[in-house]
Symmetry: C2
Subunit: 371 residues, 2 copies
């Protein structure tokens, strides 16, 4: 078993729960903290069904003063945090930016304060490709490398950017202060991974674990899934006048299992190599248009999914496709799964769990799991 | 008297107290909130001695939850905030970045939350030229215009940048939400000024009001003042190998009375023109090197001030000189006072108040004031 336990903040959410699964499968001891605002503790039961191991759960809001102190006091073996706890809807961030600054930015300041106080020295942060903004404003920056100048175009992206600088400044200060005090061993312990990911997609191939957004989903594939099950009449395509081959916006869709594996590899890299703060793109390197995604998901379902074109949304950009070379070479990580597999896994999850985590999965899927 | 009272957060500090004076002189009713961390309530007594009007004082920390709510409840006539409450030492921000994120960023989130709750709709924010970072990386960007790409180079600057985006996002959301609800009158009420200022300098020409930093001062002129009074053996010049004509770094020093007047003009502009969020540089447009400043201050004192060259400081840049054209034309504001006057006023204040606000000013200065 790896030394040191891991706190997964926001660990019952979509990416958080799959990362918890990856950590447990790799032998880590995991404590999950989540306020359950947009997620269900049932996700952790599915994790346990799949891997036979259990994460401890603490209900906690990131903005609760001293909340993380209590967790670190109760679990002195935690030396690393993977931090997903945030609001994540670009559109909503334009209407309620204060909530985003409070939860995403202050929440992280609050977490960092507790980490420094309790000597929890590694953080893997759930950043976003949104920090790049419209990379098409630079020549040769598509697919986007990590050294592309940052320039978010919406409040959600602004909060992710602010958190990146906060983590960078705090980790650098911890290292510099320790170095000045002549303690190089202490300096090396402080590390941060800024994982800028592109569009997470898909579900667990068992069909018992997937994305379960409360209320209206924010992203293309969950919306398409609702169309396929009849919950939603049609998909709204925001903009068909972008400068892509079919006019719709280009994104880099990455299978959730690959994304979770990227978090595990980043954490292992921090522990093994002590790089300080470093950003890595987690993407496939291959962009797909909205129309291509509709076709791919329709193929998985076996039925064409209806859509309607609407105007572009404020803050959306033409193309967010990763150059994942740095993660490929440094982390030894690569997106292995195809878009088709993501669509198939999503459809298996969706058709078998129309109420998401609010109902038990079909007995035949559970039986198949035990084999 | 102008309609609406003004809350000056951080109003006992250097720029805050001079802005309070300018507001009172212009007929505004002013409430000052300050935690007195690096300032003295005596500053407000000097304001009263100078202008014969009094600001109300509330001791309050920006990070206190619901603290601003209480102020706005007690003063329902407040419709505008001028926000200075922040930590401001670049060097310290590299060692204690968490304090800077907490006070500067979270403090402002906390303030904005109360403003939205209590319908306080105008904010003038004490930003900094530091948000530009090293503008010499762009051609034709010295002197720096407001549309120069931002890129702070130290944690202090990162917090100012994050606050600029928070204010922009919140004001824009208030306007957009009101517009969507069909309430254009409400939308127009929400306005923000991002005042990026360069290097404040000088004191009140009466000699009874000036900068009174607790502990070690951060900036060139207060340090020079300590050398002149013998509190400090010599000035440390950080870097003489910059690409300037004498090798020392170039800054744009602006007289504190001009700077305070800029805040007043920005507030009036927000109220009269409802521009939404807008950034203005407050500077003279003329850069001076460290060596030029030492000569100017030595001339005011009538004695050469000793100095020693030390290595550059991390995060410092070659040249921060404002292009103040936008403020000149839009706000009808211009820096009127000379560098020589700033040095003379600073020396008058320094030699007459060796203990700053911890002692009463000489009787002859008070007598001169009454004439």
């Amino acid at each position: 078993m790896p030394a040191g336990s891991v706190l997964v903040a926001g660990g019952t959410g979509y990416i958080g729960s799959f990362t918890t699964l990856a950590l447990l499968e790799a032998g880590y001891k995991v404590v999950v903290a989540d306020n359950l605002y947009n997620s269900s503790p049932e996700a952790l039961k599915r994790v346990e069904l799949i891997c036979g191991k259990k994460a401890e759960f603490v209900q906690l809001d990131v903005t609760e003063e001293n909340g993380f102190d209590k967790v670190f006091e109760a679990h002195p073996d935690i030396d690393s945090v993977i931090h997903f706890a945030a609001l994540k809807a670009v559109g909503e961030s334009g209407e309620k930016p204060l909530d985003y600054y409070l939860v995403n930015v202050y929440g992280t300041i609050n977490l960092l304060r507790s980490m420094v106080k309790h000597n929890v020295t590694n953080i893997v942060f759930s950043s976003s490709a949104t920090v790049y903004g419209d990379a098409t404003r630079f020549p040769n920056m598509i697919p986007i490398p990590e050294d592309c100048p940052l320039g978010p175009t919406n409040p959600y992206g602004n909060t992710k950017f602010a958190v990146e600088t906060a983590i960078t400044d705090v980790i650098n200060a911890q290292r510099n202060n320790a170095t000045k005090a002549g303690n190089e061993a202490e300096a090396k312990k402080w590390n941060g991974a800024l994982l800028r990911y592109f569009n997470p997609a898909g579900a667990h191939p068992s069909g018992i674990m997937g994305e379960d957004p409360q209320g209206v989903p924010y992203n293309l594939l969950p919306l398409l899934a609702q169309v396929a099950t009849g919950k939603r009449e049609k998909l709204m395509v925001f903009g068909d006048d972008y400068a892509s081959h079919d006019g719709t916006a280009i994104r880099d869709y990455i299978h959730i299992l690959d994304l979770a594996d990227g978090h595990l590899k980043a954490l292992n890299y921090l522990r093994a190599n002590n790089p300080g703060v470093r950003a890595w793109n987690l993407g496939t390197g291959k962009g797909s248009t909205v129309y291509e995604m509709i076709r791919a998901f329709s193929a998985a379902v076996g039925k064409d999914q209806p859509y309607e074109v609407a105007p572009r949304r404020a803050g959306d950009v033409l193309n967010l496709t990763a150059n994942p070379t740095r993660a490929n070479t440094e982390l030894g990580w690569k997106a292995e799964r195809t878009l088709e597999q993501a669509c198939e896994d999503l459809w298996l999850w969706t058709k078998n769990n129309p109420q998401g985590y609010r109902q038990q999965p079909p007995a035949e899927l559970l039986a198949a799991l035990k084999k």
